[in-house]
C-alpha cells in the first residue's frame, strides 16, 4: 500500500487538492446563497415552511440521480460536479441559518430597533452575529457531506479523489483494486477531518466571546 502511494504521490496530491478545491468553492457559493435565502425567509414568514420542506426533501434526492439529471445540461466533468455539490451543500446551511436567525430573541431585535438601528444594520450587527454559531454548525455539516458527494461526482468525471474509488471498484480482483478504493476512501476521510478542524478554528476566531459555548 505504502509503495502504491509513494509511486503516485504527485497524482494523489493533485487530486486531493482538486477535491478540496471543488468542495470549498461549492460550500462558499452555498453559504452565500443559503444565508441570503434565510434572510429572505425571516423577512417573509410565508416562505418559511417552503424553505423547510425544500431543505428536507432536497436531501432525499439520491446524489447519483441528481448527477444523472444534470449531466445532459452541463456535460461531463467539473461543470456538472460543481452544481451538484453546491446544491447539496446549500441545504444544511439554509436550514440552520433559518433556525439560527429565527432563534434570536425578539426583545433584542425590538431593543435594536428602539435604539435607532435600521433593519439592515440590525441584521448585520445583531441578528447575524447571534445566529452565527448555528449557521457555522450548518457549514460544518455541509462541508462533511460535500466531501462525500464530491467523491460520488467522480462518476461524471468530476475532479478529486473519487476517481480512485471508481477505478478500484471497476477492477475488483485486479492487482491494485483494493489499494485504489482504500486510497480514495481514506483520503476523503482525512481531508474531511482536516477541513472540519479548520472550520472549528474559524468558529473560535469569529464567534464573540460573549456567546461562545
Amino acid at each position: 500500500m505504502w509503495d502504491f502511494i509513494v509511486e503516485r504521490r504527485e497524482d494523489i496530491a493533485y487530486n486531493a487538492f482538486q477535491h478540496v478545491n471543488l468542495v470549498v468553492q461549492a460550500v462558499l457559493l452555498a453559504f452565500v446563497v443559503a444565508v441570503l435565502l434565510a434572510i429572505l425567509v425571516t423577512r417573509v414568514p410565508a416562505l418559511q415552511s417552503l424553505a423547510n420542506s425544500v431543505s428536507a426533501m432536497g436531501l432525499t434526492i439520491p446524489s447519483l440521480a441528481l448527477l444523472g439529471l444534470l449531466l445532459p445540461l452541463f456535460g461531463i466533468g467539473p461543470s456538472t460536479a460543481f452544481p451538484a455539490v453546491a446544491f447539496y451543500a446549500t441545504l444544511p446551511i439554509l436550514r440552520n441559518a433559518v433556525v439560527g436567525l429565527q432563534g434570536v430573541d425578539a426583545t433584542l431585535l425590538e431593543s435594536a430597533r428602539g435604539m435607532g438601528m435600521s433593519p439592515v444594520r440590525s441584521m448585520m450587527r445583531v441578528q447575524l452575529p447571534l445566529a452565527w454559531p448555528v449557521i457555522l454548525a450548518g457549514v460544518r455539516v455541509s462541508t462533511q457531506m460535500s466531501m462525500g458527494i464530491a467523491a460520488i461526482a467522480a462518476i461524471v468525471l468530476g475532479p478529486g479523489l473519487g476517481g480512485y474509488i471508481y477505478t478500484g471498484l471497476s477492477q475488483i480482483g485486479g492487482a491494485n483494486a483494493l489499494n485504489q478504493a482504500l486510497l480514495g476512501t481514506i483520503g476523503v476521510v482525512i481531508l474531511a477531518l482536516a477541513l472540519d478542524a479548520l472550520l472549528l478554528l474559524l468558529g473560535r476566531l469569529t464567534t464573540s466571546k460573549g456567546i461562545r459555548v
Binding site: 426583545t107 430597533r113 435604539m115 464573540s208
Partner: protein, 394 residues
C-alpha cells in the same frame, strides 16, 4: 425634584392619540391626551392590557399611532426620520436586554456609534456612565453580559439608555426581572441619577409601590388607556379620583405613605468610620471615644463596604478589604418603607445610608424613623384639628 438646575429633559405632548389594531373591536389606546413636563419622571401604571406599554412605544414610534399627534419638545415625532428619532430617545427595557455578543462597552457605545461620535469620545462616555451607575469601569468595561448579575445587567441597560445623553428616556418595566433588594437599589440609583441629570423619564410599571416611589407624577390607566387619574403620588394616595384608582392603589395606603417620605427627610446618626488598611487599634480608640460598638468601613471611593462590630475587628492588625458591591446600603433617596425593610434584615437594626455615587452619608436607625413618623402624624393631626376648627367657625 426641588432642585434649581434647569432640566436637560424635553417635554412630551400626546394629543388625541389613538391606536387601533386590525381585527380588534375596541382600540388599544382610545384618544389619549397627556402633557409630560420636562425633567420629570412620569409613571404609567394600570392593569395588564390597559394600553400603557402601547402608549409608551408610540412615543418612539416602535408602534405607529393610528391617529393623533405626539410631540417631543414641540416637534411632531412623525415629521422626523424614525431612526434618528429613536437615537435621541433613550430606551430601557426589562432585564436590560443587552446584546450578549457585545461587551459592556460595546453595548453602551452603540447609540454614540450610530450617531458617529469619535472613538475616544465614546470610550470616555462609556467610563463616565459606568461610574454613574456604580460599576467600576476598569473592572466591567470588557465583560460580556453573561458575566454580569441581573442587577448589573440592568445597570448597564440604564447606562446604555443614557449613552447619547438623550433628553427623553422611555423605560418599559425596567426593574421587573430582578430580586426585591436589587430592585430597591436600582430604583434608588435611578433617583440619584435623575437628581444629577433631570431627564424626562417615562416609565411603565405594574407595581404601584414602584410608581409611588419613583414618580413625580403617576398616570393610572384603565382599559383602552383611559386616564383614571394623572397626579402626584401624594394626591393619588390621599385623594384617589374614583373607585377604580382606590382599588388599584389598594389596601394599606396609609402604610404606602411611608413610600412618600425619603430617608433624607429623617435625621441621620453619625458613626465611626474606618478605611481598609488602617491600623485597628487606632480605629478601636476612635470608636470607644465616641461610645460606638461598631464601625463602617469605607473604600477608596468613599463607598461603605462593610459594617463591623468592634469585636469582629479585634485580632486584625489592619482593617481588611471588602467589596462595596456586595454590601447592602440604603440610598438617601430610598423611601422609609425600604429603610424599614433593610433595617429589619440587618444585624445592626439600622442601615448605612449613601448619597451621590454611593458615597457614605450616615446611618439611619429605628428610633429616627419612628420619631419622624410620630412627628408627621402629630402634624397631620394638628392640620386636621385646625381644619375642623375652621369648619366649625365657618
Amino acid at each position: 425634584m426641588s432642585t434649581t438646575t434647569t432640566p436637560s429633559g424635553a417635554d412630551i405632548e400626546l394629543i388625541d392619540v389613538v391606536k387601533r389594531y386590525p381585527g380588534q373591536k375596541n382600540p388599544a389606546v382610545d384618544s389619549l391626551s397627556l402633557h409630560i413636563p420636562a425633567g420629570e419622571i412620569v409613571m404609567f401604571v394600570g392593569p395588564s392590557g390597559c394600553g400603557k406599554t402601547t402608549s409608551l412605544k408610540m412615543i418612539n414610534r416602535l408602534i405607529e399611532p393610528t391617529s393623533g399627534t405626539i410631540k417631543i419638545d414641540g416637534e411632531d415625532v412623525r415629521g422626523k426620520d424614525v431612526d434618528n428619532l429613536r437615537r435621541n430617545v433613550g430606551y430601557v427595557i426589562q432585564g436590560g436586554s443587552l446584546f450578549p455578543h457585545m461587551s459592556v462597552a460595546q453595548n453602551i457605545g452603540l447609540v454614540p456609534g450610530l450617531l458617529k461620535w469619535g472613538k475616544s469620545r465614546t470610550s470616555d462616555r462609556v467610563d463616565e456612565l459606568l461610574e454613574l451607575v456604580g460599576l467600576d469601569p476598569a473592572r466591567y468595561r470588557d465583560r460580556y453580559p453573561r458575566e454580569l448579575s441581573g442587577g448589573q445587567q440592568q445597570r448597564v441597560g440604564v447606562a446604555r439608555g443614557l449613552a447619547a445623553d438623550p433628553p427623553v428616556i422611555l423605560m418599559d418595566e425596567p426593574f421587573g426581572a430582578v430580586d426585591p433588594i436589587t430592585r430597591q437599589r436600582l430604583q434608588d440609583e435611578l433617583l440619584s441619577i435623575q437628581d444629577e441629570l433631570h431627564k424626562t423619564i417615562v416609565c411603565v410599571t405594574h407595581d404601584i409601590d414602584e410608581a409611588v416611589k419613583l414618580g413625580d407624577r403617576i398616570l393610572i390607566l384603565e382599559e383602552g388607556a383611559q386616564v383614571a387619574q394623572y397626579d402626584t403620588p401624594e394626591a393619588v394616595l390621599v385623594t384617589p379620583a374614583n373607585p377604580f384608582v382606590e382599588d388599584f392603589v389598594g389596601a394599606g395606603s396609609t402604610l404606602k405613605q411611608l413610600s412618600l417620605s425619603r430617608v433624607s427627610d429623617v435625621e441621620l446618626a453619625e458613626t465611626t468610620t474606618a478605611r481598609s488598611g488602617e491600623s485597628v487599634p487606632e480605629v478601636l480608640d476612635r470608636a470607644r471615644a465616641r461610645n460606638d460598638t461598631s464601625v463602617v468601613v469605607l473604600d477608596s471611593r468613599n463607598r461603605p463596604c462593610e459594617w463591623l462590630w468592634l469585636r469582629e475587628l479585634q485580632g486584625h492588625g489592619t482593617v481588611p478589604e471588602f467589596n462595596a458591591e456586595e454590601f447592602v446600603t440604603l440610598d438617601r433617596r430610598a423611601t422609609l418603607n425600604d429603610a424599614l425593610d433593610t433595617m429589619l434584615s440587618s444585624s445592626h437594626g439600622a442601615a448605612v445610608v449613601t448619597g451621590r455615587r454611593d458615597e457614605y452619608v450616615g446611618v439611619v436607625n429605628f428610633n429616627a424613623v419612628t420619631d419622624f413618623i410620630q412627628a408627621t402624624e402629630e402634624q397631620h393631626a394638628a392640620t386636621a384639628a385646625a381644619d375642623a376648627a375652621n369648619g366649625e367657625s365657618a
